[in-house]
Each structure stands twice: as C-alpha cells, then as structure tokens.
C-alpha cells in the first residue's frame, strides 16, 4: 500500500503546456477519480504517474519516494489500459505469466498468484483462451487480472470501462468497487463519465484544460461546486443557472431576475456591492445533498 502525492506537476510539449502545476495528495488505500472532459490533462497526469510520460516540472512521490526519473517498473504500480492492451498472441494465462516474469518468482508462486486472481475474477475457464476469443467484458476482467497478479501498491486505471456497453459497464463498476474494498489498494482512476466517478470515488479530482478545478468527495463536488465549471459539469440533468441582479430591499439584499426574486444567501450579507454597469457575480446555487447516497 502506498500514498501518492503530486506537487506542482507540469507537463509541457515544447512550449505547449497541457498540465499546469497540479497538486494532489492521495492517501494510502484511497480511490481517487480524475474526472474531466476530453483533453483536460487527466490521462496525461495518470501517464506521468505511471512513468509513460516524462514529468516536465514538479515532483511525483509514491510511498514518500520521489519517482520522477524511475522507469515504470520501479514504481510499484500496475495499469489497466483503455483498450486493455492484452497481448494478442498470448493466452490469458500467458498474459498474466508475462506480467509476473520480471518479478522472478518461482513457478509455484506464479501459479498460486494466477489461481488466486483467476478465482477472484472468475477467469478460471478462460485461462487457455486468447484475447480474440473473449468478449469485451471478459477482456476487461483479464486486463484487471493481469494488473492484479502483480500485487502493486497503486492501481492505475485509464478509462477502463469506456469500451463496454452500458449494462456491462454498470456490472464491472460494481466489481471494481468490490475489489477495491477487498484489496484496499490505492487507486487512481481516469474517466470522463461522472456516474463512474460518483459511484466509485472516495475523492474526485475535477480537471479542465490542465488545471484542477476542484478536489472533493462526490457529495462535496455535487452539492458544493466550487465554481461554475464544476457546477455545470457535475450532475445530470445539470444544474440550472440564472443570471441575477443584486438589489437592495427593505429586508436586506435580494437576488432578482425577470421571473423571480429571492433573498440573498446569508453569507453574502455585507459582501455584495453593486457596481453600476459592472459585472454582477452569480454565486452557484446550492442543492440538497445527493439523495441516492
């Protein structure tokens, strides 16, 4: 088990910055989801943690050790790729054996590990098959199995469910949640699907254009979005926004639009100043905590 911390991590391709100084602390055993629209830098961030991309600036630590310059194999991680990256010329068993080989374990240990993971994921019947003979859901499970046999300290998932149909996605999502509970390993999970994020995460990191917009528990980001982007990005149907004008009334400040007028939230009291012709801030509206959780 290990904690992961990113401090001021930057990724630039030449002059073009795709990740701008990301700070993130992940506790041991935590399930963290990086969530954001495509191109927001979440996958790049994950790949930097994996060691598949060089870090342009800042520092990444796993279990307290800076690992910026270490090759992926020395980072105690395992990764599940978006398209699973199963070796097509090897059977399921060979895929797992291949993943274990660099650890130089005895034959018995390897067999025991594979048997354990296969049992946990229900892969026993599939061990002799090649990836082409598996369904999408089965491939996904094999990809997870291959990552699990290595007993890493940190699991990295790169949009692992995006190639599955809706029903399977729900099912595998449950399995991932269950496995995390069982194994307790730290997980960094990248997705653009907020349902996955809300249901799986201990902590959601919402990213946009290479910046972190908000870090918080699913309840927090849902009920207390820190800014407009998070407010509109999270929740389906998305939050309603109204352009309001702050006005004085005999009961103190009120927010009013063409259609309705409400009392300004108490914490705005004394902080709101109207400026003729200037911009008026519209604070995000609150909503009750997510009822489903």
């Amino acid at each position: 088990m290990a904690s992961v911390s990113l401090s001021n991590v930057v990724k630039a391709f030449g002059a073009f910055k795709v990740v701008h100084g990301v700070d993130l602390d992940i506790a041991d055993g935590e399930f963290v989801v990086l969530l954001g629209p495509s191109g927001c830098g979440k996958t790049t961030t994950l790949r930097m943690v994996a060691g598949l991309e060089d870090v342009s600036g800042g520092e990444i630590c796993i279990a307290g050790e800076a690992i910026n310059d270490r090759p992926p194999k020395d980072r105690k991680i395992a990764m599940v790729f978006q398209n699973y990256a199963l070796y097509p010329h090897m059977t399921v068993r060979q895929n797992m054996e291949f993943a274990l080989k660099p650890q130089k374990l005895s034959k018995a240990e390897v067999d025991a590990k594979i048997a354990g993971v296969a049992g946990m994921l229900g892969l026993d019947a599939l061990l002799q098959r090649k990836p082409a003979q598996l369904s999408g859901g089965q491939r996904q499970r094999v990809a997870m199995g291959r990552a699990m046999v290595r007993t890493p300290e940190v699991f990295l998932f790169d949009e692992p469910l995006s190639n599955l149909d809706l029903k399977l996605r729900t099912q595998v999502r449950m399995e991932i949640a269950k496995l995390h509970k069982q194994l307790g390993t730290t997980v960094i999970y990248v997705t653009h699907d907020q349902v996955e994020a809300m249901t799986l995460a201990d902590k959601i990191v919402i990213m946009k254009d290479g910046y972190i917009e908000q870090i918080g528990s699913p309840e927090e980001v849902f009920a207390h979005p820190k800014n407009l982007f998070v407010a509109t990005f999270i929740g389906s149907p998305s939050m309603n926004l109204f352009r309001m004008t702050v006005e004085r009334s005999e009961k103190g400040p009120v927010l009013s639009s063409a259609a309705f007028t409400i009392a300004a939230p108490a914490d705005m009291n004394g902080k709101v100043h109207t400026r003729p012709g200037g911009d008026t801030r519209h604070p995000p509206q609150r909503r009750p905590p997510c009822p489903g959780r």
Binding site: K73, N83, A85, L86, A99, P102
Partner: protein
C-alpha cells in the same frame, strides 16, 4: 461506384478483356517460346499447333550451368534478404516509436535514398570492391542489395509497426520489461506478417536485379538474370534457352502477385496509397 446496366457491363468486359489480352501476350510469349522447338520460334502461325518440348529447359541445365546461376541468385537473394530484414526491422521500429519533432525528417531522408540512380554508385562500388577483392563474389551483391531497397522496406515496416498498438508496449513496460525485450517479445511477433511481406519484397528485388549483378560479377558469381542476358550476346541467339531461363526467373514474382496483392500496393507506393 454506382451500379451499371448489363449493356455497360458487357462493354466493360470487352474493353478490359482486350487490354488484358494485350498485356498478357508478352507473358504468353515467354512461356510458349520456352516450349517451342527452335524451328517454330518465329512462326506465329504455329502458335497452338507446335509440339511442346522441354528441350530448352534441359539445355539450360546441361549445356549451360544455369543451376549455378540460380544457386548464386539464391545465395545473394537469401543473404541480402536476411540481412536487410534484420537491420531494417530495427530501424523501422525506431522510426515508428521515437517521438521527436525531427524523426519524420530522418524517415524522409531514408526514403530519399530510393531516389538515387543506382548507376551513380555503381562506379564507386566497382572500384571499392575491386580494391578489396570482393568483385565477382556473392558477398559484394549481398552488401549492395542490402542498401538498395532500404527505403522501400523501412517505410513498409514502419507502417506495420505503426499498426501495433503502443499500449501493448506500455503495458509490458509497466510490467518491467526493457525496450529490447519488448521489441522481440511483443512487437516483433505481432508485426511478423508484415516482416514476411518485407522479406518477400527484398527477395523479389534482389532476384530480379540486373545492373549491379552485371557490373559487379564476372563468371563465378554470375546471377540468373545476367546469365539469361549472356545467352543473348554469346554464340547464336538461343531464344528457346533465353525464354526458358526468363520463365524460371519470373516465377517468384508471379507467385508474389497472386498471393500478396494487398501488400504489393502498400509496398510499391511506399504507403502513399492506403
């Protein structure tokens, strides 16, 4: 393409058929002349009526040491193919995987080598090989052919490596494999069909080559193409033997066309046609 009527279809068949026949005549002539008795060689009226004979093929191997020429061709061809595929698969992998703004320039530079006229380097080759005593040896041709189609095969192979998902290599990297091991355990097996095609390309090129073979070999390392040509210049013109030898030489190319048409397109157009 949209559908066409029966009348148009008939027209298409007639036109295509005529062109096909015109294009096939020389190939027919090679085969027919190799089987014709010498007396009937230049009598088109005898076509279809002559009694086929294998005499020219027999002559080729008894009166002429054509089997030695074929062996020379095979040595040169297999040697250069093996060498080429080894070196180029490495180079193509690098070109396919290195992410660097200037890597495309390197790739184009290698491609540009195709464009140098072989005759321009034949003189230096001749002098260099003469001075190191490699003239008229199969090794000289193996060396020359190993460069000759570098552009073609490197580009073709690069295409095959591009098709192997990089995620597979990344997965192996996360598992703890080094780049060399990843190359021969993951990438190479997956690109193997492509490598086979490249090997065939190299084979056909070396097998068909004439200019270097003519300039750099004498009698002892003479390849089949040069030998066939020499039937023309020496003694009386032995058309039957020339055609018999030609037919033997064209067999590998024809087999290639009939079996790997798809790759032919990719290879010969350097991937500019998908």
């Amino acid at each position: 393409m949209n559908k066409i009527s029966t009348r148009q279809a008939t027209l298409v068949y007639i036109v295509t058929g005529i062109i096909l026949i015109i294009f096939m005549i020389p190939i027919y002539l090679i085969l027919a002349s190799s089987l014709k008795p010498s007396a009937d060689m230049f009598s088109p009226s005898a076509d279809g009526l002559f009694t086929p004979t294998l005499q020219h093929y027999v002559d080729l191997f008894t009166l002429r040491p054509f089997h030695w020429n074929i062996i020379n061709s095979l040595v040169v061809t297999l040697g250069s193919t093996l060498f080429s595929v080894t070196v180029r698969s490495l180079g193509a992998f690098a070109l396919s995987r290195i992410r660097h703004p200037r890597i495309n320039d390197a790739a184009f530079w290698i491609l540009s080598m195709r464009m140098f006229p072989p005759i321009a380097v034949v003189v230096p080759y001749y002098i260099i090989f003469k001075s190191v005593g490699l003239l008229d040896t199969p090794l000289a041709l193996i060396i020359v052919y190993s460069t000759a189609n570098i552009p073609l095969t490197v580009w073709l192979m690069k295409g095959f490596f591009d098709e192997v998902p990089e995620a597979l290599e990344e997965a192996a990297q996360v598992d703890g494999y080094g780049i060399v091991e990843i190359f021969y355990r993951i990438t190479l097996p997956l690109a193997a069909p492509g490598l086979a095609v490249c090997a065939v390309f190299c084979f056909i090129f070396s097998w068909n080559e004439f200019l270097f073979a003519l300039m750099l070999t004498g009698s002892s390392a003479q390849t089949a193409t040069v030998a066939v040509m020499s039937f023309w210049s020496s003694d009386a013109v032995q058309w039957g033997r020339i055609m018999a030898g030609s037919f033997i030489i064209l067999i590998p190319g024809v087999i290639f066309v009939l079996t790997c048409q798809k790759w032919l397109v990719k290879g010969l157009t350097l991937g500019s046609v998908k």
